[in-house]
Symmetry: C2
């Protein structure tokens, strides 16, 4: 039966999760889908186009999603806290991010990543601004909040053998919020 672009994109997303963009190889993907390389080139101009399409899908699903979930919360402190929870809760979300971090240098990935990160920074900056911090301070706190997120996943990625407990996650989030909103 005929395949569609989506089938290739789905398979590529799995590959990226496993090993970054380097793991997106047309021939193995074709084998996995039970078809040939020639078929692939009917749907996509080349390998880069497949990766671009996959990143596009990721950007839509995973970035706006979490932000939209918390954007309507009135209290800024609560909004930040919920965002941290949402974003650190879901393992798949984290791994999608981390799989892409692994390919951050890839010229295809860089611009997408830049957009996503800018969006996240901007949202966090706004939240801290709503707490009454000056723009400069809000920027620093937003950066620290984003770093709190990065460091958490870095540690998970590097020590997959000993995943921190749910309690540890809660304590870390609590302390992060407490510290970063101090002075508001």
């Amino acid at each position: 039966m005929a395949l569609g672009k989506e089938d290739w994109i789905l398979e590529a997303a799995l590959a990226i999760g496993r090993g970054g963009t380097a793991a997106v190889a047309v021939e193995p993907l074709a084998k996995r889908l039970g078809t040939t390389k020639g078929s692939f080139y009917w749907h996509f101009a080349n390998r880069d186009a497949l990766i671009a399409a996959t990143l596009d899908a990721w950007e839509n699903e995973y970035t706006e999603g979490p932000i939209a979930q918390v954007a309507q919360i009135e209290e800024p402190r609560e909004r930040i806290a919920r965002l941290l929870e949402v974003v650190m809760e879901d393992d798949r979300e984290g791994q999608a991010d981390v799989g892409l971090l692994a390919s951050a240098h890839d010229p295809l990935v860089a611009p997408v990543f830049a957009r996503v990160q800018s969006r996240r920074f901007a949202f966090l900056e706004e939240c801290f601004g709503d707490l009454g911090f000056t723009p400069a301070v809000a920027r620093h706190r937003a950066r620290l909040a984003y770093g709190a997120f990065l460091a958490w996943f870095e540690q998970r990625r590097v020590h997959p053998d000993r995943p921190p407990s749910r309690r540890e996650l809660r304590a870390y989030q609590r302390e992060t919020i407490a510290l970063l909103t101090r002075g508001s």
Copy 2:
């Protein structure tokens, strides 16, 4: 004239800085060095061995270096502050890190990165412990400090067009230290 392993390692390090391990390709490297692929295989078993050797050199130079530079500072708060400065000051250091972050998924890179990060976390934890925090709190603060470092370079990498000023860096460091050592 005869080349040595070091010549290949140096060239490989440059390539990693440019585009992660994916940029380490034997044939182009050979061309750059004015020799042939065959020559490469006299010095190294294969491409992986070259990358491993390059990572080894990086681990020795760039990880122990900064820590050693600050380890003998008495005052823990000062020690942390200096470490942040040292590690964020030098652009080349940051880019070596970031170049490798780009290949974090690479099975060759993962274990080296794990060691380096463990070492850094442990050192930071110790510093915060010396400030009198309980182990759990020290762990959280160490993670946040490491995140402060990661987020800084992430932002630089993503927006190479508008690098933050020296003043911004100073202000960010000052505020990070102030926040993370609060309560000691």
